[in-house]
């Protein structure tokens, strides 16, 4: 038997895992601004990027931060920023611009109590809808949400990969608790980790079109200074990137922005199903709240209760098909979340109403976490 | 189109007969200025928006302005190839470069 390679676990903080995940994914530009509870990401990037030849800059505000990230992305960088609620609000126009010009970048939102200044050092999950609808106009979003320090590392890599692959701005959720807590972590061996880079154009510059002509959705992406000399604009644009108001060209653009996400949910969506095979009552929870849900499933299964957990790792696009598949026939669905029902709103949209199935919401927005016991108490309402 | 506020033309007397006292737009067929070799200045009428800047700032009065406001080479012999028209044209619609 080959000698078992001594596996070295590292005690790591959530925000730290996000930073090292980004570096592993090849992030070589960070433009950010201090904000509790995400500042550690900026601090680690400030320390690590110069050592690796990457670029770090602290900008004058969050609007400038997302702008510098998009600028760097245009110049060829794998660019990223990290913020929390108030900064995420300020960045919305910039995020919309990144989606519109299809420039890959990642925004980390370590959620804290809202609204406004709210509870800077306490967790919440109240920015879920903002990641989807925060920026004006219709352009679907990609948002991921881990539930552990290790998964923070892994989903950061995935967020960078998806940004490169789908040429858009990907939001990575965390929260004040998940971001600041520490866990022993065995990081994956990087040679096993697949790193995706934007598709390079193979055609000579005069044939290059910055956006896909036919709805193949994702086309090669050149960078500034490589001889392609393309134009990007936030205005509605044609395949060259030139402004247009022609309905047919605007239609092609809008379809492309939507279809490249909506028609690839199979690749984008990830859920974790625990003990769902014969579950009578299911818990639907994400992020930090899912940890309590996992405790409930273990405890009640030990008592022979048919309880399971369905956890979305991908918040946007919302896992409609998988929710239908797992949750259509259960008797009851408990939806614990640290907001006033943002995930349950989506759940009800997908599942609709059925007399034989009860949806019980467990909600908290005081900055405290939802406890396993509170989830168990909610199950009493499912007879 | 030349500015209708006539009195603000302030002093720069547009030469003689073609100064538009009253704005009647009689659109005559505007040809390009013929072969570049004969005329010192070439005007790209496709791009010219008739703003009148070249005519106003030509130091030697080489250029004149037609009824519809478009510039034309009135006195080719006066051109000194200073390229003022070339530099001040907002639409890159005139070139006076020395050949």
């Amino acid at each position: 038997m080959a000698k078992k390679k001594k596996v070295k676990a590292v005690l790591m903080q959530g925000n730290e895992a996000i930073s090292y995940g980004a570096l592993a994914a090849g992030v070589n530009f960070f433009g950010g601004y201090p904000i509790t509870p995400s500042t550690e990401v900026a601090e680690i990037m400030a320390r690590e990027l110069p050592k690796r030849g990457g670029k770090f800059i602290q900008m004058e505000d969050e609007i400038a931060s997302i702008a510098s990230v998009v600028g760097a992305s245009l110049a060829g960088a794998k660019a990223m920023t990290a913020t929390s609620g108030p900064g995420f609000s300020l960045m919305q126009e910039g995020i919309g611009f990144a989606k519109m010009i299809e420039a890959p970048c990642v925004v980390v939102n370590v959620m804290r109590g809202g609204p406004s200044t709210g509870l800077p050092t306490d967790p919440s999950q109240s920015d879920i809808m903002q990641a989807r609808w925060g920026s004006h106009g219709d352009a679907p979003a990609i948002a991921l949400y881990p539930d552990s320090v290790l998964e923070s590392y892994e989903l950061t890599i995935r967020a960078v990969n998806l940004a490169e692959k789908y040429r858009t701005c990907v939001t990575l959720f965390s929260d004040a608790c998940l971001g600041h807590m520490r866990e022993p972590v065995v990081l994956p061996d990087l040679s096993q980790v697949k790193i995706i880079h934007r598709i390079q154009p193979t055609l000579p510059p005069e044939w290059y079109k910055h956006y896909p002509e036919n709805p193949k959705y994702i086309s090669p992406l050149a960078s500034f200074g490589e001889g392609y000399r393309f134009h990007v604009t936030g205005l509605a644009h044609d395949a060259h990137g030139f402004p247009t108001t022609r309905p047919d060209e605007v239609a092609r653009m809008m379809d492309n922005l939507r279809n490249k996400i909506v028609h690839h949910t199979d690749d984008l969506v990830q859920v974790e199903a625990i003990a769902m095979e014969d579950a009578r009552i299911a818990i639907f929870a994400a992020g930090i709240t899912a940890r309590a849900a996992k405790k409930v499933v273990v405890a009640l299964r030990a008592k022979g209760k048919k309880v399971g957990l369905l956890r979305p790792l991908t918040i946007w696009p919302f896992p409609d098909e998988l929710v239908k598949q797992y949750l259509s026939d259960v008797k009851g669905i408990i939806v614990p979340e640290l907001n006033q029902g943002q995930l349950s709103l989506e759940l009800k949209r997908v599942l609709g109403h059925r007399k034989t199935r009860k949806i019980v919401e467990v909600q908290k927005n005081t900055g405290e976490l939802i406890t396993p016991q509170e989830i168990i108490n909610a199950m009493k309402e499912v007879h | 189109m030349p500015d209708k506020a006539e009195k603000h033309r302030d002093g720069q007397i547009l030469s003689g007969e073609d100064s538009t006292v009253k704005m009647q737009v009689e659109v005559n067929e505007v040809k390009t200025e013929g072969d570049y070799n004969s005329s010192p200045v070439y005007i790209y009428h496709d791009w010219c928006k008739k703003c009148g800047i070249c005519v106003a700032f030509c130091p030697t009065g080489t250029l004149g302005r037609k009824m519809d406001g478009s510039p034309y080479v009135k006195a080719p012999e006066k051109c000194i190839h200073c390229e003022t028209c070339d530099r001040l044209c907002p639409d890159f619609a005139i070139t006076g470069a020395k050949r």
Binding site: N28, P50, K51, I57, M59, E60, D61, A64, A67, S68, G71, A72, S73, L74, A75, G76, A79, G94, F224, G225, E226, G227, R229, F230, H231, V232, G234, H240, F242, P243 | M1, P2, D3, A5, H8, R9, D10, Q12, D35, Y36, D46, W47, K49, C51, G52, I53, V55, A56, F57, D86, R87, L88, C89, P90, D91, F92, A93, T95, A97, R99
Partner: protein, 280 residues
Amino acid sequence: MKKIPQKQIHKYLRHNKSFPHVWCPGCSNGIVLGGVIRAIDEMGYEKDSVAMISGIGCSSRMPVYVDFNTAHTLHGRAIPHATGVKMFKPELNVCVITGDGDATAIGGNHLIHAARRNIDITVILINNNIYGMTGGQYSPTTPAGAKATTMPYGNIDNTFDICDLAIGAGATFVARTTAYHAMEIQNYVRMGFEHKGFSLIEVIAACPVIFGRLNKRGDASSMMRTMKEESKPLAVFEALPDEEKEKFYPRGVLVNIDKPEYTEKYANLVASLQKKEEAE
């Protein structure tokens, strides 16, 4: 075959973009674009090496027409986008095309911080004293008493002196000229590009169709003649007695000093860290 001369400038225009451009007859934006292109041509920059970033407004419609690496970003945010481009690829010659409202109203915070940081971008600020694109609202440089659609009774708001603002924030190259002085546009833009650090070139511009009409300033050439009369070369301006100074404004290179440039300082940091690593 009819021989039609190719203007030197045509080489730098995007041939798959429809001309004439979008600006109104007599608008100075075209003159500034001409000056910028002539400066770049004079320096012999490769078209590939130039990145032109703009915000939102009349002047910001410039980059789409030129055959460089171009981005038409968000209102007021051209400078931070350009900072990102320059930080990641310092070898690019990065310039920003912006206007008085775009740079000093919504974009004011980014302007002063980029100047403070002394990052090597060349900001060409076309100051026509009005928000032209949106139809004539007053801007931070609209003169006192001038009319605008949001100051129908005459502007009671105070104004910025853009060059003083940039100098106060630490800009290391600041120059002002007008659309009439096309040679100076070319020279100052060239000096701005060649300057290692934050450069700001303010070009006083004419907006005949909106500002000119609202304030009865005559046509484009009248407004440009006014620029010629109201601006004085720096030395002449400084020699004027104080009460005369009110009626004129100085043209020329107001500041041209050398300070360590941000991306260079960053590169030195990276180099020293790598050297330290090799030593270990």
